[in-house]
Symmetry: C2
DNA sequence: AATACAAACTAACACGCGTTAGTAAAACAC
DNA sequence: GTGTTTTACTAACGCGTGTTAGTTTGTATT
């Protein structure tokens, strides 16, 4: 290799593909579109990748791995209140997303076009991730920190909806840092919009 | 027509198409798939619809019309607090979605495959709808009902994320009614997860 | 200079796509 | 009963799809 510092051509292909998949959706994005964006012929792509789906696979599972790693880091911490743990989980999630908003958008919107058995694997990972956030919320309800009146499924789904749509409106050039955004988001979900009477 | 009570064949085609578009996505769903679901040949579809996109157009804009009508009803009410108005807006939105979860999912996920100028029209409607919810939140911040510390864009985007993902997890056969769900959702966003000190 | 490898090319493949043209049969209205 | 409308059919169109085979070019290593 000429320069050790530069990313491989394969990574470059995948990165440009992510942008394309985000813009047009996985199915509507053609390999010829992708090749054009890279300034090469469509057939040349196959010197770097095995198939179109391999790109999607890499994008989805790389993101999944990062999300999992972030969550495990939070889970390993001791002596946190439920609010704190939830907040740190949310901040971690936002930070992972912010590191690659394009891949995050693909991860969120296009994973369903994975074929079996990868789709099954992906969905199992996802369920697992969500359930571990659900446990945080349940812990808060159990120790009186959170209300018990709110439906758990609603709570966790609202949380994930909020998180997962972020790539669609978050401006990466904005001054606001991911950690701050995550904090604001968790504050909103935990404390609500209403003025506190304190 | 033989029976006035039965829906037209065109409506039937669109309804089945909605299910298909939801399952596979608009681009991945082929007219041959759709025809098979209806037990006819693909070419026969064109006795009822002008094009594949017409189906998407009808699905998206019919939903948009319902959302707008619901919002206008809430806006016309007098003497409501910001919380009440927001809650009723949310309940209305949930009710419209619950009336046709399939079309709602298509509306949310597939609208981007509309071609111009329909896509532009659609996005303008959507921005307008979101802005009117934003006004409700701003009114609450202005009169001291809501905190001013929360970023408005974050607040309204969190709201819409939560709302729009509902079709992906809401179980239409569940005992919980749309109005109740909407109420819980608005309660969560307004008051938060945390136990109130009252 | 010889070798190895990465990265691109041209040409083509089989296939599925949305859609049109023209037609046939059934169900309706009068 | 005749004319009209609805609903479906068969056959085919041009085009875009992901992908392959085989080859060439340039660069880096020995």
């Amino acid at each position: 290799m000429t320069e050790v510092s530069s990313i491989s051509r394969k990574e470059q292909v995948i990165r440009v593909a992510a942008e394309l998949f985000r813009e047009k959706g996985y199915v509507a994005a053609s390999m010829r579109d992708l090749a054009q964006k890279l300034g090469i012929e469509a057939a040349s792509l196959y010197s770097h990748i095995k198939s179109k789906e391999e790109i999607l696979h890499v994008l989805c599972f790389d993101m999944a791995k990062d999300f999992m790693a972030s969550l495990e880091k939070v889970e390993s911490k001791q002596n946190l209140t439920a609010s704190e743990r939830l907040q740190q989980g949310i901040i971690g999630h936002v930070e992972v997303m912010a590191k690659d908003l394009t891949a995050s958008a693909v991860f969120m919107n296009e994973h369903r076009h994975l074929s079996q058995p990868f789709l099954r694997d992906f969905l199992l990972l996802r369920i697992n991730y969500i359930n571990r956030f659900k446990l945080m919320i349940e812990a808060g309800m159990a120790n009186g920190e959170f209300k018990k009146t709110i439906d758990k499924k609603l709570a966790v789904m609202t949380l994930f909806s909020s998180l997962n749509w972020m790539p669609l409106w978050y401006d990466p050039t904005s001054a606001i840092e991911p950690a701050v955004l995550g904090k604001q988001l968790s504050d909103m979900l935990v404390n609500g919009l209403k003025q506190n009477p304190t």
